[in-house]
Symmetry: C2
Subunit: 340 residues, 2 copies
């Protein structure tokens, strides 16, 4: 087994051993087409014999770039996050750039550790779905020329680009839809109130109610963690008692899934409208009405912004807001019970 530390053979050594030109070796090494199978086999035999391995590090060091970016997510296993990731990956691939990913698990300290670890590995830029509420720790990085683009939620304590969904507008459209179908007592089940998206969606809820001249009973608002137990308790509180809500706005995909599992059967439960689309939402009975985000558009806009910064764009930080879309499918369109 060849040592990782010995004197390394070069592409010229491989070309000489295989009796071919340097360009042919380069094509094989870089997985390019235009080399016959027989020729490729000769080159690969020489590569294996000499233990040659391509090394981009030296070339990249000369350019001052590592041709890598990092994407910091809440949880890559969440469908919203993984759709973002694919979009970022596709833009990066077109730029010849590799992508580190990492999940903060919504922990500010883990976000910071990961972000600084990526920077210490000299990524060219960062896309961050922030968990924390103080990003001034990134000031030395941005001052040194590493652009950071915030995705899904804006930064705090640092001037940076932010690519966001129209959270307030989407929630407003959803709640207005429930109001149009006759609902007056509408429950809001949201994420932790300090999370930007959660606060914005709650703002949209309040604005829609106010625009319709409807009072909001603060007991209709239940914000907290998205685990099933907490959501279940909130649902029980909102849907029972002398004046239950007649409709529910569940403010993200985790909460909607938890609600779908815990609400009574359709016909015995309030009208339901979720923020975020779900893969089988259209196959439920009734099909689920949602305010859909566009994670692919979010990821694409974030990655494009990052590469524009890397290409030298020094204009002031921008905020790009990606529209949401109301998809009416049946779960939110039943009127409230006549006698309540």
């Amino acid at each position: 087994m060849t040592s990782r530390h010995g004197s390394r053979p070069t592409m010229n050594d491989v070309a000489a051993a295989a009796g071919v030109g340097l360009k042919t070796v380069s094509r094989v090494v870089n997985g390019e087409s235009g080399v016959s199978p027989a020729m490729a086999a000769r080159v690969n035999a020489a590569i294996a014999e000499l233990g040659f391995r391509r090394n981009d590090s030296a070339r990249l060091l000369r350019t001052g770039r590592t041709a890598s970016i990092a994407l910091l997510l809440e949880d890559i296993a969440d469908p919203f996050s993984s759709a973002l990731t694919r979009a970022v990956e596709d833009v990066a691939a077109a730029e010849g750039c590799l992508v580190f990913t990492g999940s903060s698990g919504e922990h500010p300290l883990r976000e910071r550790e990961l972000a600084l670890a990526f920077c210490a590995r000299r990524v060219d830029g960062l896309v961050v779905v922030p968990a924390g509420d103080d990003h001034s720790y990134l000031l030395p990085e941005t001052a040194s020329g590493t652009p950071v683009v915030f995705l899904d939620r804006p930064a705090t304590g640092i001037a940076a680009d932010a690519i966001l969904s129209d959270n307030a507008g989407g929630a407003r459209a959803g709640v207005s839809h429930l109001i149009r179908h006759g609902h007056r007592r509408i429950g809001f089940v949201g994420d932790l109130p300090q999370i930007h998206t959660s606060a914005e969606r709650l703002r949209g809820y309040r604005e829609a109610m106010a625009a319709a001249g409807l009072p909001v009973d603060e007991r209709w608002i239940a914000c907290g963690p998205t685990d099933r137990a907490r959501v279940g308790e909130a649902l029980t509180r909102l849907t029972t008692g002398p004046e239950p809500v007649t409709a529910l706005f569940t403010a993200n995909n985790r909460i909607t899934v938890a609600a779908l599992h815990q609400l009574p059967r359709p016909g015995e439960r309030p009208a339901l409208l979720g923020f975020d689309d779900l893969e089988l939402a259209d196959l439920l009975t009734p099909a689920l009405t949602v305010v859909a985000q566009d994670p692919a558009a979010l990821g694409t806009a974030a990655a494009r912004t990052l590469f524009e910064r890397l290409a030298g764009d020094r204009t002031p930080p921008r905020r790009i807001v990606i529209p949401t879309r109301l998809i009416a499918r049946g779960s939110a369109e039943s009127p409230p019970p006549a006698r309540r």
Copy 2:
């Protein structure tokens, strides 16, 4: 703005400027606890003033490691892939290692380009969900000491660790379940037949039929791309005509979703059993019976194997098979129509 190329300030410079010890600077720089907010602010001010940035590259070069691994997937936006990724990420994080991810889109050339690009960036190891059927291009990498673990599908042309689901056993269990509920004419809708998982699941189907003494009409088997149009055509062919199948085994998550969207309403369609669980499968009417894989266990086993190799394990390549689980929920348990 500080240049990326100028003479870089060190942690000692920061400690001197802030009037604190080197250990305190190190704690702040690495996001560790145990520093008071006031002290951290002083250190951060010195960091910002001097433009200090931590750099792991030099330390890592000395160790011969980059403390990074790469995970090559079919499509990170697929829920199966993103669950794998989170598991690999968690193991890597515990090892102080960062993770590159990349999607091959099931293209062998893209797999090769990405794998070689990760190796050229000197990742310490690779976890690969292979798209291609010749991985001898990785021989120079493994010979140079970069371990490669194959996940979901085994390698070809190279001796390497493989972490696989029990695809044949899972399919056998699923098809046997349909047979137990009285089905004799069972359709198999699978992915491209050259894909290992597809071939293995088809083998499980044939074994279950043979074990029950049932003949297989080759017209019941429809393998091909997983897009809706192809799946829709296959379903039409299998479920119409003088002798339609009375049950369907859909052999992966993409195919099951396509089938759910295109089959007639429950009651007018065959019994349905899918390979791979889906997030809302239990909320459909009827709820979907599946053979569930365990992507978290697959990702964890792959990452652990990789780190064992990195720690010096030189035992022969291993094959780890992760069990699947039959979850009966209703869609597969109706008997065939009496008169067919």
